[in-house]
């Protein structure tokens, strides 16, 4: 038995991303914003993107949710920065799970939410591109 304080609910990587989230906040004058909710648990995740020359230059998140939801959004934004839109469209939640060193089975949906938020932000960007800006 280790000392009480040495036990954590999630692994060290998840705990690090939960306690010290990367890219937390909103991208100023974002090119695309995606906000999605999980019907299963009620968590909400928002990802905003800055896109330049077909690449994700900046990505930020805000999350209403549990530790693994916060860690998943932190990790997802870390992973997608610098990727092309085409690459980002193929982004899978499994990449988040792997990079976090695994999530408990009941928490896998948190990583799915991160994937959905990213894809919603890209869709938002593309919808804005398709629509001519009102003069």
């Amino acid at each position: 038995m280790k000392e009480t304080k040495e036990y954590t609910l999630y692994n060290d990587t998840v705990m690090d991303h939960f306690l010290n989230p990367r890219n937390m906040g909103d991208v100023q004058e974002a090119d695309g914003v995606g906000e999605v909710g999980a019907a299963a648990c009620g968590d909400i995740m928002k990802i905003s993107l800055k896109i330049r020359d077909g690449k994700i230059e900046d990505a930020r998140f805000k999350t209403f949710g549990c530790g693994s939801a916060i860690a998943s959004s932190s990790m997802a934004t870390e992973l997608i920065k610098g990727r092309t839109l085409e690459e980002a469209k193929n982004f899978s939640n499994q990449e988040v799970v792997d990079a976090l060193g695994g999530l408990p089975p009941v928490k896998i949906h948190c990583s799915v939410l991160a994937e959905e938020a990213l894809k919603a932000a890209i869709e938002d960007y593309e919808a804005k591109q398709a629509k001519p800006v009102a003069a």
Partner: protein, 423 residues
């Protein structure tokens, strides 16, 4: 501020009292006989068991120690009370009346019976989780054999009008089972005054060891055994007794009786200080269950902090050395909000931000002040991270606790963006 270790989950379990532990030790290696044995080793243990049961009986003012059945825990006690009573009395009727916010061991025992020919009426509760005795009366039919109402709710701390319900069941000649899991050791209990025929509790909730539970059962309530084997516990619960745990539980009960007044006074003082401090410093926060006072158990606060989720609060508190519980869906293995919070019709947004803090006799004023200061920082950190907080500030969604009249409800917003209604 220096980090402290503050355990605020006493409604889940407590550490064993030093005097209880010391009393248990001889029963592992010196007095290790089985009370069923006829030799001196058995007789030696029998004496200790009887004394321990007398102390447990005194905690609830039972007529006799022989009215107690010792089980493996609170869960087995409620299973035995409900299934054992239903089995023994099914010829008299097949209808059960139960409050909507009972402990899972009660809810799931009842649900099991509904698959075996029993019918059940769930009695609703009001917004602070209190049962109206007249609703119990109205639910009783000529087929009713058992009414189940807990003394204190395990999640939100509401004290139920069990005595008033006991008058109704006595009038109708129906047996009343009371689960006193969240009450025993934290408020005086008198089975005769309450008018209950069955009552269960679990000593590890008041500084006794885990692994034993108690079911009080008086002569008016016949129960059929569900653990079959030898003739222990008067033939109602087979299996060699967990002697050291029963001895420890007896000591915990004896100390609880002796120190009840000062324990309740100390813990109630801390509860009030915690409540006042949190509500003074944190906005958009709601108490679930009654205000500290005569309708709430002295040791627990159940609160919902708006725009943030409960598991995140729990983890950040844990990181700062503070141990709490939560009824948020993210904390449950089934991803469902606590059925108690659903029964009081707590808004989805508030159910998600739920935290349960339960105090103990060894907590101090310094502990409480540390929790108040730490919790403020945690709420700020999580709100800063939450899209809901900014959307509230921008008037996109409204507060449930203190509505501004601007924006849609969180629940509506969550349903809009997830494409389906939540919960």
């Amino acid at each position: 501020m220096e980090k402290r270790a503050v355990y605020l989950d006493h409604q889940t379990t407590t550490p064993v009292l030093e005097e209880a532990l010391q009393a248990m030790i001889p029963y592992f290696r010196e007095a290790y006989g089985s009370p069923s044995s006829l030799h001196r080793y058995g007789l030696q243990v029998r004496e200790g068991l009887k004394e321990a049961k007398e102390k447990l009986a005194a905690l609830i003012n039972a007529e006799s120690w022989e009215d107690l059945i010792i089980t493996s825990g609170g869960t087995e006690s409620s299973n035995l009370a409900i299934k054992g009573f239903a089995d023994a009395n099914h010829r008299k009727g097949n209808h059960l009346v139960v409050s909507a916010i009972e402990h899972p061991s009660v809810m799931n025992s009842i649900e099991y019976l509904t698959k075996h020919g029993f019918e059940v009426t769930y009695v609703p509760v009001d917004s602070v989780g209190r049962i109206n005795p007249e609703d119990v009366r109205a639910a009783i039919t000529d087929k009713t054999i058992l009414v189940c109402v807990h003394l204190v709710n395990h999640d939100i701390g509401t004290i139920q009008p069990v005595k008033e319900i006991g008058k109704i069941t006595a009038e109708k000649g129906i047996v009343l089972y009371c689960d006193a899991l969240a009450a025993a050791g934290w408020m005086p209990i008198d089975v005769r005054d309450l008018g209950v025929q069955l009552l269960s509790f679990s000593p590890h909730r008041f500084y006794g060891p885990k692994g034993i539970g108690v079911l009080y059962r008086n002569r008016k309530a016949r129960v059929t055994s569900h653990i079959h084997g030898g003739v222990q516990e008067g033939g109602r619960r087979a299996g060699t007794e967990n002697v050291p745990a029963i001895i420890g539980a007896g000591v915990a009960a004896e100390v609880a009786v002796k120190e009840m007044a000062q324990r309740v006074e100390h813990v109630a003082m801390l509860q009030k200080r915690l409540y006042d401090g949190l509500w003074k410093h944190i906005t958009y926060i709601k108490l679930n269950g009654p205000e500290p006072g005569p309708l709430r158990i002295c040791n627990t606060l159940n609160l919902s902090t708006e725009f943030i989720e409960g598991e995140g609060q729990l983890l950040l508190l844990d990181y700062q050395g503070i141990a709490v519980a939560s009824g948020s869906s993210c904390v449950s293995k089934s991803l469902k909000v606590s059925h108690v919070l659903s029964a009081i019709h707590l808004d989805h947004a508030l159910a998600q931000g739920n935290i349960i803090m339960s105090l103990g006799k060894d907590n101090t004023v310094e502990d409480v002040d540390y929790v108040i200061e730490t919790f403020q920082k945690i709420v700020d950190k999580l709100r800063n991270m939450s899209p809901m907080w900014k959307e509230f500030e921008e008037g996109v969604i409204d507060s449930v606790v203190t509505p501004t009249g601007k924006g849609k409800s969180f629940t509506q917003h969550a349903a809009d963006i997830s494409g389906k209604p939540v919960h």
